[in-house]
Structure formats: structure tokens, C-alpha cells
């Protein structure tokens, strides 16, 4: 009886080869970095003790924490607003299916890949040496990497949505801006919402890291609590941060569904 293939000739070989390479790379990496898995399992027994130690809270820090949150949130918010505007424009220039020029697209992608890979401390150093301490510096330091991230996230989404809309609008003679504003933004807006939330969290997290360069806010408070080995305060501050972010996440999800399936107008 004749054998009927389900995949075209050679594609099975290709898949096996790919799988083989992937597995080899993985095993090779494990060998390379000397992972001691046994130790890992042995020490799992420490988990309850360590977690138990963290299970204390100190309510007295809450007012301070909330105030610091306001600072962090407003910094993150402002960074977000500016970076979303810039990143939106640039990401439409960088998305493969709508870019006016492939060279430009690649340049933008590469440029921000570089920006993303410069560590926070280096930005902090350069910004503070030129601007001095303060929120202005924090804003700039966060802005750059925030834009870098958003561009990556946005272009991903733009490249995923259908080309048929671009086609239809192109055929009306609509300009690039028209296609972007009337076609792609309405289409992508829901996924953009998702990314904006992710980045808002990222910005808040980054503002925590920015304690290093003298930017206050919840991050500094947290760093100090950790430095003082004050578990009660640390846990409390964490709970505040997480609650805040959960509220944010779920309200953005709500907003997103509203836009997606929302009132038909």
C-alpha cells in the first residue's frame, strides 16, 4: 500500500533537524553553566522557613508607602505618556508591513535595540552628570528605555495584524498617515493597551531601580527596607505595590474589552 505523507518532502527532515539542534543547544548550555540540579532539590526544603520569615507586615509604613507610590506613579505615568506618543510614531515607521522604507525600519529597530541594552546605571550616570540629581533626570533615564521597549512591543503587534486593511486603504490613495491613523491604530489599539500596561509596570519597576541615581519614590523606600533587613516593612511595601499593579492590570483589561467589543460607535 502506498504511503501517504502528511508533510511535504524534506520537511520532516527539517523539523527533526531543528528539534535536534534545539535540544543540543539546550543540553550544551546546561553542561556549560554547570547546573547542580540536585542541590536545587535538596534546598527546596528551605522554602517554608524563608517564606515564613517574610510573612509579617508593618502597617505603620503604609502612609509613607502610599505617598512614595504617588511619586513613583506620577513619574511612571509621565514617562509613559511621552514614550507612548514617541514610540507609536516610530513603531509605525519600523513595522515591516507599513514602513515607508526598509532601511529606516531596520535602523530604528537596531538603534533602539542598542538603547535597550545599555544598563540603567550607565544611563543614570550620564544623565546625572549632565542634568544633576532629581526627577528630571529620572524622567530622561526612564524615557529612553521605555521608548525602546514600547517600539519593540508595538512593532510586534502591528506586524501581526492583517495586511488587508493596509491594502484596502492604500487602494483609496490614502497617505501613510491616513493608513496609520484611520486603519492601523483602530485595529491595534487593543493590543497597544496591553503593552502600555506592561510598560507602566515596567516603568514603575524601573523607578524602583532608579533609587541608585537618587530618584525617590516607592523604590527608594523599598531598597531601604531591604537594606535594613526589615521584613515587615518590605512585605508591606510589596503588598502595596502589587495591589496597586493588580488594580491597574485589571482595569486596563476591562478598558481593553470595552474598546474591543465596546459600544458600536
Amino acid at each position: 500500500m502506498e504511503r501517504i505523507r502528511v508533510t511535504s518532502k524534506g520537511s520532516a527532515v527539517k523539523s527533526i533537524l531543528t528539534a535536534f539542534i534545539l535540544v543540543t543547544v539546550f543540553i550544551g548550555s546546561i553542561k556549560l553553566v554547570n547546573l547542580d540540579v540536585q542541590k536545587f532539590f535538596e534546598r527546596l526544603e528551605n522554602v517554608p522557613a524563608v517564606i515564613g520569615r517574610m510573612m509579617v507586615i508593618d502597617l505603620s509604613v503604609i502612609p509613607n508607602a502610599l505617598l512614595a507610590c504617588l511619586t513613583s506613579l506620577s513619574l511612571a505615568f509621565l514617562t509613559l505618556v511621552v514614550s507612548v506618543i514617541i514610540a507609536m510614531l516610530l513603531s509605525f515607521l519600523a513595522a515591516r508591513n507599513i514602513t515607508p522604507s526598509n532601511y529606516l525600519a531596520n535602523f530604528i529597530k537596531a538603534f533602539f535595540a542598542v538603547i535597550r541594552s545599555v544598563p540603567g546605571l550607565v544611563w543614570g550616570l550620564m544623565v546625572i552628570a549632565s542634568l544633576g540629581f532629581g526627577y528630571t533626570s529620572g524622567f530622561i533615564a526612564m524615557l529612553l528605555s521605555s521608548i525602546g521597549y514600547l517600539i519593540k512591543l508595538f512593532t510586534g503587534s502591528i506586524e501581526e495584524v492583517g495586511t488587508d486593511i493596509v491594502e484596502a486603504m492604500r487602494s483609496t490613495g490614502a497617505s501613510w498617515f491616513n493608513i496609520v491613523f484611520h486603519g492601523l491604530i483602530p485595529l491595534c489599539i487593543t493590543s497597544f493597551f496591553g503593552w502600555i500596561t506592561v510598560r507602566f509596570e515596567g516603568d514603575v519597576a524601573e523607578s524602583i531601580g532608579l533609587g541608585i541615581i537618587g530618584v525617590g519614590g516607592i523604590g527608594l523606600l523599598l531598597t531601604k527596607a531591604i537594606g535594613a533587613y526589615d521584613y515587615a516593612q518590605t512585605t508591606t511595601i510589596l503588598i502595596v505595590i502589587c495591589l496597586l499593579m493588580l488594580v491597574l492590570e485589571f482595569s486596563m483589561t476591562k478598558l481593553k474589552t470595552m474598546v474591543k467589543y465596546g459600544e458600536s460607535r
Binding site: 488587508d164 486593511i165 491594502e167 484596502a168 486603504m169 492604500r170 487602494s171 483609496t172 490613495g173 490614502a174 497617505s175 498617515f177 491616513n178 491613523f181 484611520h182 486603519g183 483602530p186 485595529l187 489599539i189 487593543t190 474598546v259 474591543k260 458600536s264 460607535r265
Partner: protein
């Protein structure tokens, strides 16, 4: 009369091997209502999409409005395209935007960006959009989101969008594939009467030979990327139709051979019926 659109030796090769178009030369004149027929995969969609450069032709000239389409890019290409209306097989509406905005997209190329963003389309455009929507029976759905419409409703929105461009030539890729017969007839008739009224050239891909015969002023048969028929509906004889779709028939299993022949015969029967 001078041709609005003149196509010479058009070739389109997808990838390395698929020759979707294989040297097509045609002239289209103002006010013609051209229906393109041909078996599935013949290259009809590709042909139509080459005209407004949604697909870049591999070889050949496309002269529209005295200008070489294949040489343009950027602003120039957009200007040319704004003179070419297009209706898509799958509607291609912006699903999250409401109906009237989708229709107004037809005038984007003539509206400054800031105005279109604020929704400040000219009163005339808006009025025309509303009138077009009324014509196709969608005045009640004007503010519904495009994705809440049925297939047929969406298609009619797409037609309004193309007409709002006030084009010199109108391309349509199976515009009535998802319409019920009454809507289909009305749409075809509207296209037809607009074509006569404004001396607008229409190029329409159709699968329904009977509609082609009823509305076309000229029928073009494409098969395997080549023009195999070009003439008036009257010239399109039953044997001609069989010829155009023939390749298909022989592709079918032998077992069905009789059935297929029968089918074509039926088809012709129907066509002549419609002709009465």
C-alpha cells in the same frame, strides 16, 4: 476614443514559479463595463490588483490616465490610486470603526490629516456618504461598528467606500459573492448605471456568467494567466464558456466527468435563460 487604461504585456510571477499572469495586453475605454471571468486560480484577482499596484507586476506597462502606473511611488502613486476605486472580495473594512467612517475613508486622500482625525470631513463628502449608504439600504447601520454587520452588509459598505472616491475607474473583485440575489442585482445595477452616468470604467471579476452577460458591455475571459476571450456578451457563446472553464473540468476526477459536463450544460442553460 482614448483609452483610460492601457495594459501591455503584463506578467506576474509569484515566488519563483507561479506565473499568475502570462502576458496580458488590453485597452479599457471610458464608460465600459468590463466583466472578467475565468476559472478559480486563473489570475483574475492578480490582474485586478496589478492595475492599482497592490501587487507589483513583474513585467509590463500599465498606462492609466496617460501615466505609467508601474513607475510611480509615494505621493504620485497615491494620487493615481485615489482615482481608482476598489471593492474587495473580503470587504477589508476597519472592523473597529463605524460604518460611516469606513465609507469616509474613501475621501482620505483629499482630506488633510488633522481634519480627518477630528472627523472634519467636508459637508459634501459626508452628505454623499450618507446618500450612498441610503442607496444600499444601510442608513440604519450608519453608526454600528463594521464588525457587527452581516457579510452582505459589510460588502455594501465597501462598495460605498469605493464610490465615495469618485473614481475614474472602478475595480471590483467578486463584489457580489456574498450578496443575496436582490442585493446583488441592485449592486450590479448601481455599478452599471454609475458607469453609464459618469462614463466610469468598471472592471469587475465575477464567477456568475449570467450576471456577466446581463450587465457587461464587454467580457474578458482569463485562463492560466492569459486572455482567452475578449468581446461583447453576445459573442460569448456557450461553447466559448465551456472553453474558458474547460481546464477545470478535466482536472476533476473521471468519475465525475459526466457530472461536470452536465454541469456546464446546465450553466449554459441558465445563462441562456437569463438572456431571455
Amino acid at each position: 476614443m482614448e483609452a483610460v487604461l492601457s495594459i501591455r504585456d503584463l506578467v506576474k510571477v509569484y515566488g519563483k514559479e507561479t506565473r499568475a499572469l502570462n502576458g496580458i495586453s488590453l485597452d479599457f475605454y471610458p464608460g465600459e463595463f468590463i466583466v472578467v471571468i475565468g476559472p478559480s486560480g486563473a489570475g483574475k484577482s492578480t490582474f485586478i490588483r496589478c492595475i492599482n499596484r497592490l501587487v507589483d507586476p513583474t513585467e509590463g506597462d500599465i498606462v492609466f490616465d496617460n501615466q505609467h502606473m508601474e513607475k510611480f511611488s509615494g505621493r504620485k502613486l497615491r494620487d493615481q490610486r485615489s482615482k481608482i476605486g476598489m471593492i474587495f472580495q473580503h470587504y477589508n473594512l476597519v472592523s473597529r470603526t463605524n460604518v460611516i467612517k469606513n465609507v469616509l475613508h474613501g475621501q482620505l486622500s483629499n482630506t488633510p490629516l488633522y481634519k480627518s482625525l477630528l472627523g472634519l470631513y467636508s459637508q459634501q463628502d459626508k452628505q454623499e456618504a450618507v446618500e450612498l449608504l441610503k442607496k444600499v439600504g444601510l442608513e440604519d447601520q450608519m453608526y454600528k461598528r463594521a464588525d457587527a454587520l452581516s457579510g452582505g452588509q459589510m460588502q455594501r459598505v465597501g462598495i460605498c467606500r469605493a464610490l465615495l472616491q469618485r473614481p475614474k475607474i472602478l475595480l471590483a473583485d467578486e463584489p457580489i459573492a456574498s450578496l443575496d440575489p436582490v442585493s446583488a442585482n441592485i449592486v450590479m445595477q448601481q455599478l452599471h448605471s454609475i458607469s453609464i452616468e459618469k462614463q466610469l470604467t468598471c472592471v469587475v471579476n465575477l464567477h456568475q456568467v449570467d450576471y456577466a452577460k446581463r450587465y457587461a458591455s464587454r467580457i474578458i475571459g482569463i485562463k492560466k494567466g492569459e486572455v482567452v476571450f475578449d468581446g461583447s456578451p453576445a459573442q460569448l457563446t456557450d461553447s466559448m464558456v465551456r472553453d474558458i472553464y474547460e481546464g477545470k473540468e478535466s482536472q476533476m476526477t473521471l468519475q465525475n466527468k459526466g457530472g461536470a459536463a452536465q454541469a456546464v450544460a446546465n450553466e449554459d442553460g441558465k445563462v441562456s435563460g437569463a438572456e431571455q
